[in-house]
Structures are given as C-alpha cells and as structure tokens.
C-alpha cells in the first residue's frame, strides 16, 4: 500500500498525490463492495424465483445455463435478464418531466449503495469506520423514498402517483418504529459505531447477542425493514392487482432495472443490518473450537442469507396488507411497543449493580 502511495506522490506531487491516492484506494474499496453486492442482487432474484417456485411446487427458472453445462441449468438466468434489460429501450412518456424521470432511479440506487460505506464485514474489514455509523445508515435509508416520490410524480400518471403516495406515507411511518428500535440497540451498546455494536455482543455463545434482550425490537426492526423496502406483504406501493405496478409503471429497460436493483440492494442491506445489530454480526454462535475457526465474514454471510430467506418466505406466504392495516400496524402497534421497550430497558439499566450482576442480566448489561 505504502509503495503505491509513493508512486502517486512522485507522479503528482506530495499533496495532490496523497489525495489522488486516497481517491484511487477508496474507489478500489468501493468497487470491492459494490461488485459483489450487485452480483448478490442478481443471484438474490434467482434465489427468490427458485425458492418461491419450490414453495408453490413449481420448478422455477431452469433453462439458461453456462456453456451448456447441464447441472448449472437456471443459473444463467439473472445474467440473461440483465442483458435483456440493457438491450431494451427506455421509453419516456410524452407528458413526463424528462429530467426528473431520469433522476428518480438514480436517487433510488444512490442511498441504497451509499449506506454500505459504514457496514463492517468483519472486525477489521470496514470502508469508513465512523462514530455515527448507525445515524448515517438511518439518514441514507431515509433518503431512498425520494426516488419513489419523484418517479411517481415525474411519470405524470395516476397509477404511478398513487403508488408514490402510498409508498411515501408507508416509509415515513415505519422509519419512526425503526428509529426507536435502533435507540434500544444503542442504549445497550452505548455506541453508534456498528463495529462497537457487534463487539458489545461478544460472549461465550449466542445468548449474549442483542437478539434475546431485544427480541421485540428485533421483530419490529425486521418487519419495519420489510415495509421500508416495499416488499411483500407491504408492497402496496407496487400492488400489481390494484395500481398495475405502482410508482415504476412507466419505466422500462435499464431505468426500471435500476429500481429493481435498488429494491434488492435495500433488502440485502436490511438483512445485513439486522444481522449486525441483533444477531452478533461476524461473531460465531458458540465461541468453541471448530466454530470460531471459521472467518467472521462467513458467519455474517450465513446470517444475511438466513434473514434474506425470510424476505422470500414472507413473499410466498402472506397476502398483501390492506393500506389502513399497514398504517395501523406502524403507528398503533410498533411505535407503542418500541416506546415501552425503551422505558423498560432504561429501567433495567438503572437497576442497582447487585441485581444487574446476577445471571441472566449480566450477559448484556
């Protein structure tokens, strides 16, 4: 690393060379996150189609393969889909606002990717180890709704606008419950840094993960995450049986694909955050010999995959929520639960040392 830095400094002078080196190394790290992420997105769509197919006793995609290898049948499907989307024309409706119509998908994918900057993949592997990491993630995910609203308005279509309005109301209301659930996590960990949050869950076994003392918060956070990403059963923003495809009904080709990518990247992000905040991130479930030999990165991936399976399972199982039921769940169920849990948690944290030091509580406090 240092030698590359010196080459840069010799080429461009000390100050600008150092800056360009920082820029180049950051771009390299960013690509090292984004490229596997987008591949993950591609194969998540494949996993979704396969898993839902098996749940519905179908086979799912089973044609496209690589180099005619028979046991890889179906695995080429996401690549074929991507190529198909690239080839298609982006139709801009006549009455649409052209600038905002193109801007909307960009505004959707930008926060979905930017949030990954602070995600720690293992104890050392993190791009930006900032103090306010959790806040940064909240800020980034809350910006994702702009793409949806702008897309709905710029399309100049009633269906798109209805979808955008539904989505905006839904995302704004679930963000509150999500924020309160995160307040509980940071009360436990006393830190906003995601790495410190995982380190706070270190212990002998999975009993010391925040999953157990914060179990209701885990449920609230994960379900709010499903709602934030506009996934089934909260997908009223798309609601193909009611408003065709919601906010992206007028989008085609790559512009549509970008929305699609952002939705799946957000799903992976929510699963990753749930794994980091409640399931101990890169920590093994039991701190014993064969399990803690496996690199932390693998454990994190396994936890993400486990949680992503729930996203797909929900989609295959539950019918879509009615709009007023979504609002009721967010405002009248989740927010009161989270507020009560904050008070309970604060109470436990203020208990005298003698009580907190005893068995179940000494694992977490």
């Amino acid at each position: 690393m240092e030698s590359i830095r010196q080459i840069f400094e010799q080429l461009f002078g000390f100050e600008w060379g150092g800056m360009l080196y920082t820029l180049a190394s950051n771009v390299t790290f960013i690509s090292a996150i984004i490229v596997p992420l987008l591949l993950g997105v591609a194969y998540l769509t494949f996993a979704e189609r396969k898993i839902i197919a098996y749940m519905q006793i179908r086979v799912g995609p089973n044609r496209v393969t690589f180099f005619g290898i028979p046991w890889l049948r179906g695995w080429g499907q996401p690549i074929a889909d991507a190529v198909k989307a690239l080839m298609k024309e982006i139709v801009i409706p006549t009455g649409a606002n052209k600038f905002l119509f193109i801007l909307a998908p960009i505004l959707t994918i930008m926060p979905a990717l930017a949030a990954w900057a602070v995600v720690p993949f293992s104890a050392e592997l993190v791009l930006a180890d900032i103090n306010a990491g959790l806040l940064y993630i909240l800020a980034m995910t809350s910006m994702g709704v702009y793409g949806v609203i702008i897309a709905g308005w710029a399309s100049n279509s009633k269906y798109a606008f209805l979808g955008a309005m539904r989505s905006a109301a839904q995302v704004v209301s679930y963000e509150l419950a999500m924020g309160f659930a995160l307040v509980c996590v940071l009360m436990m960990s006393q830190s906003l840094n995601l790495g410190d949050i995982v380190n706070g869950q270190q212990g002998d076994s999975l009993l010391s993960w925040y999953l157990i003392p914060l179990f209701p918060m885990f449920l609230v956070y994960f379900i709010s995450g499903v709602a934030e990403t506009n996934r089934a059963p909260f997908d009223v923003a798309e609601g193909e049986s009611e408003i065709v495809a919601g906010f992206h009904v007028d989008y085609s080709g790559m512009a549509f694909t970008v929305f699609f990518l952002a939705e799946y990247a957000n799903m992976i992000l929510v699963a990753t955050l749930t794994a980091i905040l409640f399931l101990g991130g890169w920590l093994p479930p039991l701190d014993i010999a064969p399990l803690n030999m496996i690199p932390g990165f693998i454990w994190l991936l396994l936890k993400i995959a486990f949680l992503l399976f729930f996203f797909l399972w929900f989609r295959a199982t539950f019918p879509r929520y009615r709009y007023d039921q979504i609002m009721r769940l967010g405002w009248k169920v989740f927010i009161p639960i989270t507020i009560i849990w904050i008070v309970v948690l604060g109470g436990i944290m203020q208990l005298p040392e003698t009580v907190r030091g005893d068995f179940p509580l000494n694992l977490w406090f």
Partner: protein, 201 residues
C-alpha cells in the same frame, strides 16, 4: 488551495446556488428539490466542521422526513402561478423592508466583534475516538435539560394541536372499527335455520 478548501468552496457554491434556486425557479416541485439539495450540501459543510452528529441529523430529519412530506404536499397541489404572482408588487415594499432588516441583522452578527474570524477560529481537530454525539447528549441532558424538555413539550403541544384541529368525525365515512370486528360474536353474524329437506318432484 488544499483539498478541504476546495470541498468547502464547492459545497458553498452549490449551497448558495440551490438556495437562490429555491426562491427563483417557477416549478414548485423543483423548488422543494433544490431545498433538499441545499440541506444536503449544508450537511456537507457541517461535516467539514467535524459536527457529524448535527450534519447527519440535518439529513435525517429535514431531508428524510420534513421535506418528504413537503414534497408530497407540493406535488398534490395544483398551483396556479399567475394567481400567486398577483399582488407581488403590492406587497413588495413590505417584503423588501423585512428582507433588508434581516440582512442588516445578519451583517451585524457576522461583522460584529463576537463572530469575526479572529474570535471564532476553526475548531481544533479532535482525536479519532472523540464522539460528538456523546458530548452533545451529555450537554443536552445535564446542563440544558430544562430548555430541552421545554422544547420537547412545545413540539408535543404543536403535534396534538395539529391533530385536534384537523380531526373531524364525519358521519357518512366508511371506516372499519377494528375493535368491533375483532369482538364480533358468531351469533351476531350467523343465523342457523333448521329446514325441512326438500325433494324435487
């Protein structure tokens, strides 16, 4: 000019341009979006001052929540620009006077003795483990706790007042009473009638 200065001037230019755009563009949706851009660039400038908590909170609260609702409302309104422009010149002298007073006030603060560049040097660079959030929290909940709680109560009152002012119960609206639905008994909905079996002739 080092890199930080470059970033500062870049953000400042974007901030001023977008703030001017907010009041000059004709399309109200563009105006709201430019305000979002102004908030984001302002957050960038605060980050340069190492106020990361305030910067991220600005994005979280104003960009993530307030402006979303604002944009939402602006998009649903059918704004007639001709009508808005009526009476512009009539109110111009009053508006101009208010603007002038504000400029003078800001200038008095900016160029006064307490806020000159010598009085307010750039903050000392902090060590990596210094947490802005913790410091702010400590101050808010110890030294300024009464002011903080008062502000919270003020917001709560405003929130309840807004709900009370807009909540109307219409007799003809068709909403579901969920408690009623859950508590329904079989006897209220279902009537089992015993009938003689009929035979076709």
């Amino acid at each position: 000019m080092n890199f930080q200065d470059f970033i500062f001037y870049f953000f400042s230019t974007v901030l001023i341009a977008s703030a001017l755009g907010v009041i000059t563009v004709r399309n109200p949706v563009y105006s709201a979006l430019l305000l979002v851009l102004a908030f984001v660039t302002c957050a960038g400038i605060w980050l340069l001052l190492e106020a990361e908590f305030l910067a991220i909170t600005l994005v979280l609260v104003y960009v993530g929540a307030v402006m979303v609702l604002f944009l939402f409302v602006v998009m649903m309104l059918d704004i007639n620009l001709e009508k808005l422009k009526e009476g512009f010149w009539k109110w111009f002298p009053l508006g101009g006077l208010v603007a002038l007073v504000m400029v003078v006030e800001i200038a008095m603060i900016m160029f006064g003795q307490h806020f000159s560049l010598e009085e307010m040097p750039a903050p000392e660079p902090k060590t990596a483990d210094y947490s802005n959030t913790k410091e702010l929290g400590r101050l808010l909940y110890t030294e300024y706790v009464y002011a903080f709680e008062l502000a919270a109560v003020l917001l709560l009152v405003a929130m309840i007042a807004a709900i009370a002012l807009t909540l109307r119960h219409r007799e003809d609206k068709k909403t579901l009473d969920i408690a009623k639905q859950v508590n329904v008994k079989k006897a209220e909905r279902l009537r089992i009638v015993s009938m003689q079996a009929e035979r076709k002739k």
